[in-house]
């Protein structure tokens, strides 16, 4: 039976299992990924079945995890490393930015760095500080890295394997508050391309563009808008570097309005990049300025305030109304 209904975290687990089975060079590395199976159990059972040589519990040192993964990649391995939480990636940021991203260019293409860095990201789970951030723009800004984020179980299953097969370093952001959402996974399907956007819902009056955890919010907003007679299209971007601007352009040429939604702070965020480029590409099609909905220019707040900080249904619908009012 190729089609199963799996929570997103379990889909990732199945994807890693498949990757380990398919390619003996694939390794899993990170803190607590072995016996515990990861703090979110994404690597559950993998060490038991593939051994400590393939599923490696590491010292508690993020730069060390990424730096040694680079060395393993240079030796011909394909390491998939887990950073336990978004805010913990920064000790490894130097290795990712100054080494992982640039080494292929430095060697004039003679070496490849097929390293995947999995980062559970985003808020909405009532966590303490450094456990709810969305730093994707910091990585997308760096040439040499690719940055993707699935929003559902099927993409989680397929995109992770595609990231592992990529010869480029891929930062794989996992929407942690969607880990427990179930979705259908067809393990025999032919997956879409890793960096292509997907139309999650068709519409004709306005386009909502989102990725990762915000896709679900946007789908809910589109359903609510439908009840008010507004036809909203939802694009799941799936990839933040590269961004599938062609898909956004196609949608905007149809709907003539665009709202970009993400959890990360709006300031210097991926919404700014999308707004600028779509304004260039679609200047004569747009009926309203591209609007953005996202986090504020403030540290991610304590859990009791995160519902105010995170874009929810009302803030998205408010932006839809503002756009349609032009």
């Amino acid at each position: 039976m190729a089609v199963q209904k799996l929570p997103l975290a379990k889909a990732l687990n199945e994807s890693l299992r498949k990757a380990l089975e398919t390619d003996p060079k694939v390794l899993i590395m990170g803190e607590d990924v072995g016996k515990l199976g990861g703090v979110f159990r994404v690597t559950d059972g993998l060490q038991k079945d593939f051994g400590e040589d393939r599923v490696i519990d590491t010292p508690l040192a993020e730069s060390g995890i990424v730096g040694t993964a680079i060395g393993l990649a240079l030796r011909g391995y394909r390491p998939v490393v887990e950073i336990q939480f978004d805010g913990f990636v920064f000790p490894a940021y130097d290795q990712i930015v100054t080494q992982l991203a640039k080494m292929h260019a430095r060697a004039l293409g003679k070496i490849k760095l097929p390293v995947v860095i999995r980062i559970p990201y985003g808020g909405g789970i009532g966590a303490v500080e450094h456990h709810s951030e969305s730093p994707e723009a910091l990585f997308a800004h760096v040439a040499g890295l690719k940055v993707v984020s699935p929003s559902n179980s099927s993409d989680a299953y397929w995109m992770l394997q595609q990231a592992i097969q990529s010869d480029d370093p891929v930062i794989f952001f996992e929407p942690k508050r969607r880990y427990w959402d179930k979705g259908e996974v067809d393990t025999e399907a032919i997956p879409g391309e890793l960096h292509k956007a997907r139309v999650a819902r068709e519409g004709s009056d306005l386009t909502l563009a989102a990725y990762g955890p915000m896709v679900k919010v946007c789908l809910e907003a589109a359903a609510a808008a439908q009840e008010e007679g507004k036809s909203v299209e939802v694009l799941d971007l799936r990839s933040m570097s590269p961004i599938d601007f062609d898909a956004i352009q196609t949608s905007v040429e149809k709907t003539r309005r665009l709202v970009v939604v993400h959890e990360a702070p709006v300031f210097y965020g991926s919404g700014a990049e999308i707004a600028a480029r779509i304004t260039e590409r679609c200047f004569y099609h747009l009926e309203a300025p591209v609007l953005r909905v996202g986090g504020y220019h403030a540290p991610y707040p304590p859990a009791r305030l995160e519902e105010e900080y995170l874009p929810g249904l009302d803030r998205v619908l408010d932006a839809v109304d503002r756009s349609l009012a032009y």
């Binding site: 060395g71 240079l74 430095r106």
Partner: protein, 389 residues
């Protein structure tokens, strides 16, 4: 006796090679009073001395080979310094004074070993068979490295301090996974020993028993910061806290560097894990051609170290033993000049990269934005050609 126990034993006598700059810190003074002895096989006067653990038996031919490596490396280095002064290179990081540390350690390596250098390992590159001219591309500004690391098992120069020690450790973990008996060597300096990545590489290599040798060239200065600003204990002693042996070797003694590194590599090959080698040496020149060491260190210090010159020391030994005649030195002199000339010509004829190289090798599998910007740039460049017509 293990390397570790020997190192621990040598805590009382201060060797001739262990002169340190003064520090106002009482703690630093305390560490200096217990300065360890260096492993030494050749005195600064060129006298062969014995060491209970590190012995080496080299033929006259091999000794001349080490001398040749050091002389040619110094000549290459001097040529590059001149080329920088002549405006042919944007920057140069001279290895002057560190020839023995680099040649001795590198000649201990097998072809299937893998080297992770920092940006000053010109002598190691020489021993690995990397064309010296290739090292100059990044200093001339035509690329950021430019060679294939797998051609000579010599990784690209790494500028961010200490990063490569983790790459070496990861690579060594891979070697162990492959069941190979090759080893990995990571070069870094005394300044790098303060970096978290170096500490993390010590942790990882110890935990996974990785076959890696950490070769620290303690050249006494990290730009203007003396070693006392990096550590309160002799650097080789760091290893003990991570659970592997450390040893301090006279970094101006090519025989001792060869013997100690060979021993550490053999230990790694036997599956006994990492070793930290601290080569106690001196950077006779500036940190780079942008640096001005007269602002932070005394002439007397350099003069004291000149008396321990690694090349003069081996030359004295070769002559003392009758292992090299005048013809050898004359031929080497001619070879040195030829090398200098070749390097000079290679640099001056090095083409600037094609403009489109900006967009090459950013990604292995391509990237839509790079493709878009490449096309825009090409069109922009082409617009000038059209105007010219």
């Amino acid at each position: 006796m293990t390397v570790e126990s020997t190192a621990a034993r040598k805590t009382t006598r201060r060797s001739s090679g262990a002169k340190r700059t003064a520090s106002a810190s009482a703690g630093a003074k305390k560490s200096q009073t217990s300065e360890p002895e260096l492993v030494q096989l050749l005195t600064p006067e060129g006298e062969r001395v014995q060491h209970p653990e590190y012995d080496i038996d080299l033929s006259a031919d091999e000794l001349r080979g080490l001398y040749r490596d050091m002389v040619l490396t110094r000549r290459f280095d001097a040529e590059a310094t001149s080329l920088q002064r002549q405006g042919e290179l944007g920057l140069w990081a001279s290895l002057l004074g560190q020839e023995a540390a680099q040649i001795g350690s590198a000649r201990a390596l097998r072809d299937d070993d893998y080297v992770f250098p920092t940006y000053r390992e010109h002598g190691v590159a020489w021993c690995r068979g990397v064309d010296p001219a290739n090292l100059l591309g990044m200093f001339r500004g035509v690329n950021h490295g430019g060679w294939d690391p797998n051609s000579n098992n010599f990784h690209l120069y790494t500028i961010v301090i200490g990063s490569q020690t983790l790459h070496a450790t990861g690579y060594a973990m891979g070697v162990a996974k492959d069941g190979a008996d090759s080893a990995v060597i990571a070069y870094f300096g005394d300044g790098a020993s303060s970096q978290g990545d170096v500490a993390e590489s010590f942790t990882f290599s110890a935990v996974y028993n990785a076959p890696v040798v950490f070769f620290c060239q303690n050249n006494q200065w990290a730009i203007s910061e003396p070693t006392e600003k990096q550590t309160r204990v002799p650097l080789y002693q760091r290893a003990q806290g991570f659970g592997f042996p450390g040893v301090r070797v006279d970094g101006n003694d090519v025989l001792a560097c060869l013997a100690v590194t060979r021993s550490a590599l053999e230990r790694a090959r036997r599956g006994e894990g990492p070793t930290l080698v601290e080569a106690f040496t001196y950077r006779m020149g500036a940190h780079t051609t942008s640096d001005d060491p007269t602002k932070y260190r005394a002439d007397e210090e350099r003069e004291a170290w000149e008396a321990k010159d690694p090349i003069l020391r081996l030359k004295a030994y070769l002559e003392r033993e009758g292992n090299a005649d005048a013809a050898f030195f004359e031929e080497l002199e001619a070879e040195s000049e030829a090398l200098g000339k070749r390097v000079r010509e290679a640099v001056r004829s090095m083409p600037d990269p094609d403009h489109m190289a900006i967009f090459e090798n950013v990604y292995a599998d391509g990237h839509a934005l790079v493709d878009e910007e490449r096309a825009q740039f090409a069109a922009y460049q082409a617009s000038f050609a059209e105007e010219g017509n």
